[in-house]
């Protein structure tokens, strides 16, 4: 037995299931799945796709080509991949295809907490919800079998507490799936209306067969217990329910779509009081209620944020029948202690982060900044406070253009800022739109040569593949020129004056402009501390340097102090100080 995270277990499970192709775009909490496959299983072809839609499309091709294929993304990635996904349900697959959707209830590292179980229902594909690492691996193997047996893509939905929790897993030998060479099939794979109508009907047939499977599969099972309280649950919520109410009767749904109405009805008939415990939306509960079965759930349990055992205990305790039975079983209902007011510790840009100089300049220029998602989103927090919006990957580029169209005068003081990985993901089409529709907006690419936020994955701009093979690097300058942007400049964001000049110049021209703010992420080089020298006697306590929001810098007793363990000598504070109190670090190029 081995202690594996849900993500490590899925990587292992892919190998055991005979997967030959794995594609993904990084996104917390899904990222380590592809990383682990790349590291441990050389038999599997892996790639970081430029975005989730491409990842799925590559996956579809691989499935048709005969390889069992794993496609991995975070929950919001499925929004991007939704177009191919929904039609793929019509065509079906050749070799098995499983899409892992890693949801993030509580938004540990996301911009929303959408419940992707609805995607399975929307696309009408089977949905597996593992509760821990062992199930993640076991269900993945079953998911591939189901995908091939029913000719349909399958969704395996995890959440942060499944993906990033570790539990014991028994490793097994890999299987060798049957060979499935590609066969042309116009009626099945070309979704012109005449064919698509047939395939939609075929999808309905498959749904009924899958429903029959959900009724009798062993991954949907009952834990017999006190029949006065019956709980239907799935995924991580099962672990919490067992923690709080180990005595209750539980119907655990591992294959939760198609909804096994018969199984639920039988269970409901055997228990006195029925509850559904699920994170986020009442996905199961509404289907129980729609089957005409009396049930409680979201009238007690929060619909937002993560559940925990205590949250579930406190919620269900409001129901008198649960409270009475729980008392008999000696269940404790802890009250949540008040949080003591303490200074917060928000995440911050690292000392030496190349984004800091860019956002310092944006702040000084008092611009409207249509932002985006990545480490650089931290540039929106005080004191840099230089990002006005963050919606989804790629959004800022289109938004800057839209704002300029709404109010042409605003164009001269509005920029889009987008990271390099994000630009490749979905900023390029926005830039094409600006040029095509006679826009004048300025787009700044915060190019730190990596996908930093999710743990430094390579992308098409870095020149390296997911397995660190050298490849051709996308050239942002040439790309922007080819799109038709005539004003393209490259600047080092560690040079504040030059960055300011480049952005001001770009904004002055009534034409589309791209500024590539280029400097590698400081964590890529992992530099040793290299503190800048200070002259506290010269410090006037003016606090100008604090505007950089650098965690290596403070003014205790109104005098500059540099943390020698944190400072890497990037030299931004040297440039900001007007009193000569901060010098240049030895050996630094700033």
């Amino acid at each position: 037995m081995k202690l594996l995270s849900g993500n490590e277990a899925i990587a292992r499970g892919a190998w055991e299931a005979g997967v030959k192709v794995a594609t993904a775009y990084p996104g917390t909490p899904s990222t380590e799945i592809l990383e682990n496959i790349a590291r441990h299983y050389p038999e599997i072809y892996v790639e970081w796709a430029p975005n989730e839609k491409v990842a799925l499309e590559v996956g579809i091709g691989a499935s048709l080509g005969g390889a069992r294929t794993l496609v991995v993304m975070k929950h919001v990635g499925v929004n991007v991949a939704a177009d191919p996904l929904v039609t793929l349900a019509y065509t079906g697959v050749n070799a098995g295809l499983v899409l892992v959707s890693a949801d993030d209830p509580g938004m540990h590292s996301s911009q929303n907490e959408q419940d992707n179980r609805f995607y399975a229902r929307f696309a009408q594909i089977p949905l597996f919800e593992p509760a821990d690492s062992r199930e993640a691996k076991d269900f993945l193997r079953i998911a591939f079998e189901v995908s091939e047996a029913f000719d349909i893509p399958v969704m395996l939905r995890t959440s942060t507490r499944v993906a990033h929790s570790k539990s014991l897993v028994r490793e097994e030998e890999p299987v060798t799936p049957l060979k499935r060479p590609y066969q042309k099939d116009f009626a099945k794979y070309v979704m012109v209306p005449a064919n698509a109508r047939n395939r939609h009907r075929a999808l309905e047939d498959r749904r009924e067969k899958l429903r029959a499977l959900a009724e009798q599969t062993p991954v949907n099972r009952v834990d017999e217990g006190d029949r006065r309280v019956g709980i239907i649950t799935s995924g991580i919520s099962y672990c919490y329910v067992k923690e709080v109410f180990p005595w209750a009767s539980v119907l655990k749904l591992g294959l939760s779509h198609p909804f096994p109405a018969g199984l639920v009805r039988t269970f409901a008939g055997r228990v006195e009081n029925l509850f559904v415990v699920e994170e986020l939306e009442p996905f199961l509960e509404e289907q129980v209620a729609a089957a005409g079965i009396a049930v409680r759930g979201k009238d007690l349990i929060p619909r937002t944020g993560e559940l925990t055992p205590a949250v579930i205990a406190r919620a269900l305790q409001q129901d008198p029948s649960v409270a009475a039975v729980a008392r008999e079983h000696g269940t404790a209902f802890p009250t949540e202690p008040e949080d003591q007011p303490l200074p917060l510790r928000p995440p911050v840009l690292c000392p030496g982060c190349p984004h800091r100089g860019l956002f310092y300049v944006l702040n000084k220029l008092k611009l409207n900044v249509m932002g985006d998602i990545g480490c650089y989103t931290l540039g929106g927090l005080p004191p840099l406070s230089a990002m006005d919006t963050c919606i989804c990957m790629g959004a800022g580029v289109g938004m800057a253009h839209g704002m300029a169209k709404a109010d042409p005068e605003s164009a001269a003081k509005t920029v889009a800022v987008i990271g390099d990985s994000t630009f490749v993901h979905s900023g390029i089409t926005g830039l094409i739109d600006i040029v095509y529709n006679r826009g004048v907006s300025t787009v700044i690419i915060a190019d730190n040569r990596t996908t930093a936020m999710t743990g430094h994955q390579d992308h098409p701009g870095t020149g390296w593949t997911a397995r660190r093979e050298p490849t051709r690097a996308l050239d942002f300058v040439k790309l922007a020129r080819a799109i038709g942007v005539s004003r393209v400049s490259v600047v080092d964001p560690a040079d504040l004056a030059a960055t300011r000049r480049a952005i001001s110049r770009a904004l002055k021209a009534p034409a589309p402009a791209v500024v590539v703010a280029s400097r590698p992420c400081v964590l890529l080089a992992r530099p040793a501390p290299n503190p800048v020298p200070t002259d506290p006697g010269a410090c006037k306590g003016c606090k100008l340097c604090l505007g950089l929001g650098c965690p290596a810098l403070s003014l205790p007793d109104k005098r500059i102090e540099i943390n020698p363990h944190l400072c890497v000598g990037c030299g931004l504070c040297t440039q900001v100080c007007r009193h000569g109190a901060i010098g240049k670090a030895g050996g630094s190029d700033a």
């Binding site: 590292s109 990033h164 014991l168 099962y238 003591q340 917060l344 510790r345 928000p346 743990g455």
Partner: protein, 201 residues
Amino acid sequence: MRDVTGILIAGVGGQGIILAGKLAAQAAILGGMDVKTSEIHGMAQRGGSVVTHVRFGPKVFAPVIDSGGADFLLAFEKLEGLRNLKFLRPGGTVILNDQVIEPLPVLLGKATYPADVVEQIGARFPLLVINALAEAEGCGDTRTANVVLLGALAHRLPFPRSVWEEALRAVVPARFLELNRRAFARGFEIAASKQPRLRQK
């Protein structure tokens, strides 16, 4: 579940919390227990507050510890120790690294770092304070502060030294093993010499 032990490891992104959690979990496995852990990846790792949960016992369901559910709080930073105190059950033990990492709001002068962390914690829970950075430096590398703290925790857990030795070998890369062994032994020794005390107000 009464027979499950909960360890909450709290600190600041980048302090080596995940490795400490791995070692504790590995020891529990080698000690014949069921184990679950939960970690935070992504955004918060950029200098934010982070926690790792470790739970072990004959059978573990939830990978997370609720407030009042931890037997041990291993705090790598003082403010994070205070912040996560609510996770301890009454009578739970705190092992506190005597290190201050001022968060940005404090550096900017917008918030004040609490002055009396050790007193506040000591008044409520058995407390062992260790200057892990200094101890780690003494062992040869400040980066082993996490293993010094883990060594101290190990002294309070029901696993024999041989199990910890095996856990270190399983988790730590060979070239750092000797260094980490020293750090672990130092933490263990400190904890052995100081039984936790309940401070008087």
